[in-house]
């Protein structure tokens, strides 16, 4: 069953994500596809994540289609103007890619080519408008297309904000993304079911499926690093303590179990889970089994 049918029929959907590597060696991608297909409903293919140059996400997503794993093609506005974005989207459809996740993208300064020009011709909302327009058979200049796609567009939202302005801006933007055509959301990683519950209360009325983001912790340092550097991630102290207390050889198990417990707790509040394993992609089926999915 496709991600779209699952979410639209109200079933709990599972996605994970992996990034293409830097270079032309596709072994890792193919291994991930083998491990994940038939287990998750779809896999996000990241788009030059953190502004680090890698193999094209479009090509990687096409490899997923060929390998029998449904991809979610992530598209950011950092590197392409509206001409290239629309062209790649049409290309994606031709390659059998149905799901697109529209993102604004990080600044180039944060990545490994800080000298690059950030494009940001469109942003996440206007990119969704472009996808909607393509679905209707027109490009952004209202020229008619010969053959049109039927994408299932999604977007992201962050759950944890540390200022009132940031929280309200996120909710306002979520509303705008829906108006522009977003039909599902994936969230930034969440570690606190209580604040997730509060967030879901606020966005329930949008009636758009939300897949909660999960990043398994690897060790306490990793958690502290995310708290200090990643906007929208807040790992509570007790989880950091648990990680710190675990013996070195048990850490992996503790981290995976913690992720599974979070999924169990938040499953009743939302419509799906999005597991970002960051290097542990092959352990996603294990996390799912522990969470009883």
């Amino acid at each position: 069953m496709s991600l779209q049918s699952k979410l639209e029929s109200g079933q709990f959907a599972i996605s994970c994500e992996f990034g293409p590597l830097k270079g032309t060696d596709t072994h890792e991608i193919k291994e991930n596809i083998e491990v994940l297909k038939g287990k998750v409903d779809a896999a996000n293919v990241t788009d030059q994540q953190s502004s680090v140059m890698r193999l094209s996400g479009l090509v990687t997503a096409a490899l997923c289609v060929q390998g029998g794993l449904e991809p979610i093609f992530q598209v950011t506005c950092r590197d392409r103007n509206r001409i290239a974005l629309q062209s790649d989207l049409l290309g994606a459809w031709v390659m059998g890619i149905k799901n697109v996740l529209a993102l604004t993208g990080d600044l180039p300064a944060l990545g490994d080519h800080p000298q690059a020009k950030g494009v940001f011709d469109l942003d996440s909302v206007t990119l969704l408008q472009a996808i909607t327009s393509l679905n209707e058979g027109f490009d952004l200049s209202m020229n008619e297309l010969k053959g049109k796609p039927d994408f299932f567009p999604g977007a992201v939202v962050k759950v944890e904000s540390n200022t009132e302005a940031s929280e309200e801006l996120q909710i306002a933007k979520m509303r705008k993304k829906i108006a522009a055509g977003a039909r599902f959301f994936q969230t930034q990683a969440v570690y606190d079911p209580v604040s997730f519950g509060k967030f879901m209360k606020r966005v329930e009325k949008f009636k758009t499926p939300v897949m909660v983001g999960i990043i398994p912790l690897k060790n306490a340092g990793f958690a502290r690093f995310m708290n200090a550097n990643v906007a929208g991630i807040r790992v509570p102290d007790d989880l950091i303590q648990q990680m710190a207390a675990a013996a070195k050889e048990d850490r992996e198990k503790v981290g995976l179990q913690m992720a599974a417990d979070l999924i169990k707790k938040m499953k009743p509040m939302c419509q799906g889970v999005h597991i970002m394993a960051i290097g542990w992609e092959k352990k996603v089926p294990e996390i799912m089994a522990m969470a009883g999915l």
Partner: protein, 262 residues
């Protein structure tokens, strides 16, 4: 010099939809020489708005509105007229409009678009900056320029990158969208956050060919050069109605005629 031209009257009157009482400000610096915001244009605007059924509570032409330090002193003696206004319409460049918006606790609307001359950025040193985008969006953003205040020049709202109010690029730079949010909140204009913006028209942001290297063009084409760019293209409102009100799926063929964006 910051060259500006008046927005189409339809766009201005749409901004003032809910505001009956208007105070108009003009600038006797660049805006006067641009023919967009000098005393003559302010008087014309007053007449047009009155004809359109608005009550103009007062007008004021200042020298150099871009100098925020002067804005308040120039308005001495006009406090009552300002108080009586629901909104302030400013006929000048993006810097001047932002300086007024930062100084007066009222909704402040842009009456002009600032046009890119390909180099000049004005003399004003302050937090207000204008990118000369030719499609001034300050109405939607509480008088803070999203193109210069936000590192990514985002027009649809904040990215998720802000941390404790600072932009993801650096702990020293305020997130421009959080500044916009706080300003809109302070002025009771938070519903503007739902204004759906069209993609920016980058053709307007590029300097017009005839404005590039004006001196050289003038030398090569004696008699041909004027310091005014071609007349403004037909108005294209920068935003469609509220997110909630719009049907899912934004650009509809009917609302966006073919080839409008070239």
């Amino acid at each position: 010099m910051l060259y500006s031209e008046q927005k189409h009257f339809d766009e201005i009157i749409a901004y003032l939809e809910k505001d009956k009482n208007v105070f108009i400000m003009g600038c006797e610096g660049c805006a006067q020489s641009s023919g967009s915001g000098g005393p003559e244009q302010v008087a014309e605007m007053k007449q047009k708005l009155t004809e359109a059924g608005k009550n103009v509570t007062g007008t004021r032409n200042c020298d150099f509105l871009c100098s925020k330090a002067l804005v308040k002193s120039e308005l001495r003696g006009r406090v009552e007229q300002l108080k009586a206004a629901d909104a302030v319409l400013v006929l000048t460049c993006g810097v001047g409009i932002q300086a007024v918006a930062a100084s007066i606790n009222k909704p402040v609307y842009p009456g002009c678009n600032t046009v890119n001359l390909g180099g000049s950025r004005g003399e004003w040193e302050g937090t207000e900056r204008c990118f000369e985008c030719g499609q001034c969006l300050l109405y939607h953003t509480g008088g803070i320029c999203p193109l210069t205040a936000c590192t990514k020049s985002l027009v649809s709202g904040a990215c998720g990158g802000a941390n404790k109010g600072k932009c993801e690029i650096s702990k020293d730079r305020d997130c421009g969208w959080e500044l916009i949010y706080n300003r809109l909140k302070e002025r009771g204009l938070l519903s503007r956050l739902d204004d759906m913006m069209k993609p920016l028209d980058h053709k307007k942001i590029m300097p017009r060919p005839e404005m590039m290297s004006l001196a050289r063009y003038g030398l090569e084409n004696p008699g041909k050069v004027t310091d005014k760019p071609a007349p403004p293209p037909a108005p294209a409102p920068a935003a469609t109605p509220k997110a909630g009100a719009a049907p899912a799926g934004a650009p509809k063929p009917a609302a966006n005629p073919p080839k409008e964006v070239k």
